[in-house]
């Protein structure tokens, strides 16, 4: 069964690294991409252009994004009765303590900072896959539900 991962990321380089790393570590991951917070929310709410969007099993969310930043996206997800159960992992270049604290207080499921080097990035994606997609129990989404019940 494919695993749906939504990556919310504006950097083409990080996008490419994440895509390649998932391809290596788990061919069953289907990676959808949103390039800013507005697009991420349209995807999650299956609005225009995203009516057939899959409900993600896991969201990887950058903090600094154009139009609507990751903190706002996180707050919207975790206040939405329909979306709040989706594990949302912050994946950002920020190592600011204020960002870490703020993210956990907005109920991020966990916070990871992006490493600089390719090998370390690859190994972080492997950790995410091993932990979130192979070890923890994720909530199941039966049928096509998840958008509007």
């Amino acid at each position: 069964m494919p695993l749906q991962v939504l990556l919310v990321e504006d950097s083409p380089g990080d996008l490419r690294l994440t895509r390649e790393a998932f391809r290596d570590v788990n061919p069953f991951v289907h990676l959808d991409v949103a390039k800013d917070g507005v697009e991420a929310m349209a995807f999650l709410r299956r609005e225009t252009g995203h009516v057939h969007a899959a409900r993600p099993d896991l969201i990887l969310l950058d903090l600094n994004l154009p139009r609507m930043d990751g903190r706002q996206v996180l707050a919207l997800i975790k206040e939405d009765d329909n979306l709040k159960s989706i594990p949302t992992v912050i994946l950002t270049s920020s190592e600011l303590e204020a960002d870490v604290m703020k993210s956990y207080s907005l109920q991020a499921n966990c916070y990871l900072s992006k490493p600089m080097h390719f090998e370390a990035f690859h190994s972080l994606v492997k950790s995410i896959n091993d932990f979130w997609l192979n070890s923890v129990k994720l909530p199941e989404h039966k049928g096509a539900g998840g958008g509007s019940a």
């Binding site: 870490v100 604290m101 109920q107 916070y111 972080l124 923890v136 129990k137 199941e140």
Partner: protein, 157 residues
Amino acid sequence: MALEVLLIEDSPGDVRLTQEAFRAANNGVHLHVVNDGVEAMAFLNREGGYAQAPRPDLTLLDLNMPRMDGRQVLALIKNDDGLKTIPTVILTTSTAEDDIVASYRLHANCYFSKPVQLEDFESLVKTINDFWLTTAKLPREEKPAGTTNGAGNNRAD
């Protein structure tokens, strides 16, 4: 620097397994144990005999416990401005889909069902240690030595 982990677990066997597995996985972990939800909240709020309790870097929470169960503890932690930032991992024998979804809705950071085999239990504790205590960035509370201002800890950030 020691990592403070709070294990909230009523089964003596599982407490022992967890202690032994952490000892093997990471000797920098200081594991505190409480046996039910009431005691857990006293520890987290530094009440009664827990006035000197450290703030946990990570909490491992069983669901089915006497006096106050894990669902109630989770709701209290995740609705408390002072405590909600502590990553809280559900570690339970329950594999019921209702428990999984309800836990994520209450903002559990993640959910694990306890394996039956000893080796699998050890490997799960290692997985939790490797991800939460070495890979993830944990919130770091400023801890001025000796300040325990009890409950209602309103942090101005």
